[in-house]
Symmetry: C2
Subunit: 207 residues, 2 copies
Amino acid sequence: MVNKNIPDIVVGRLPLYLQTLNQMAREGFHVASSTVIAERLGTTAAQIRKDLSYFGGFGKQGMGYQLFLLIDELQKILNIDHIWQVALVGAGDLGHALIHYQGFARHGFEIILAFDNDPAKVGTVIGPIVIKNIDTMEAEIKSRGIKVGLITVPARNAQEIAERIVVCGVKAILNYAPTTLILPEGIQVQNVDPILYLQRMTYYLSD
Amino acid sequence: MVNKNIPDIVVGRLPLYLQTLNQMAREGFHVASSTVIAERLGTTAAQIRKDLSYFGGFGKQGMGYQLFLLIDELQKILNIDHIWQVALVGAGDLGHALIHYQGFARHGFEIILAFDNDPAKVGTVIGPIVIKNIDTMEAEIKSRGIKVGLITVPARNAQEIAERIVVCGVKAILNYAPTTLILPEGIQVQNVDPILYLQRMTYYLSD
DNA sequence: TAGATTGTTAATCGATTAACAATC
DNA sequence: TAGATTGTTAATCGATTAACAATC
């Protein structure tokens, strides 16, 4: 499925739509209008219809959208209609927590490899995973064809690690390190440093 | 410091600028031009100058920006020139990890309260914190004047918890629950569900 | 059929970029 | 002074919103 010049910002909203549609399906709904979805998301019906129309006409006039159909389509569009194997680098507190977090597996992101450079950690077990030596990282990632990486190393090491995993085939990086990664065109990066989000909110708080 | 109609999207970039400026300061730089900062952030010099100019003229022609001065100004603008006390709700795996995470305290966000509704967890200690019964949440948050909340409860409870802490004075919520919160005008919410970020990246991956 | 709601177009609004005079 | 780089304006680009014909 090739990028047909869909705006990035539209793609970024699709997972949010999917989340809400799944929630409604769990609540027993079978159809939803753009208005109802918009209310749950704090957005506008026009935006939802416009966004979806980039990909096709999934609704029916007078009726709205069939939940199961739309969920299915969105999963296909987002390429999450199958399981993605994931490698994690950096087995500190945060790495630990992420390996234990069930949410990844539940959404089809299976952490199957974890690496650390601390000899004391190598060989230890976290949940279903054995921490491996970072020297074996490239070989392991390449041999399994892993495309998605989670970076949970300290900021000063993040750029180097990112470059190394990109070289062996990783195409998407979820970066927990508090630093900006500069990577080749076409490599996807999302930063999830919570400090950035907190600081962006405190701007609006009078002390 | 009152919102002078600064675009949200500009405010959202300031923490990123601050992060990079701090990094450069640690590396020993004393000044930086918009071009150099832009390179590190993968953005453009024009955007950085434009963004900063909403708040004042912090640079000098021909010279660039004095790092310490600009860092100081950004901290004031973002209201992070003092410590924010934070309450966390939901002491599961994720809550645990966040309490242990040193990054919050290091950036002036001090988690001083944690709540859970599980009687088995109430009274247990995580790091420097005793988990309190959620029944005492409103009273505790109000009496300490806490303005910032971290929500790490399951999705189905997140909306209710958010409403409860907003009623007792919380104005900014970092929401780890995989659901959209609908809250009154003026309440700040940022969502940090990693699944959303992963899904947004897999769109661009051919399988 | 009447009512509801989509998909789409055009209008509006806002953000980014380019360019350059001001000035350190 | 000459070179560099800011702050700002105007031009461009892109995203959101409003409106409505099409149609279930």
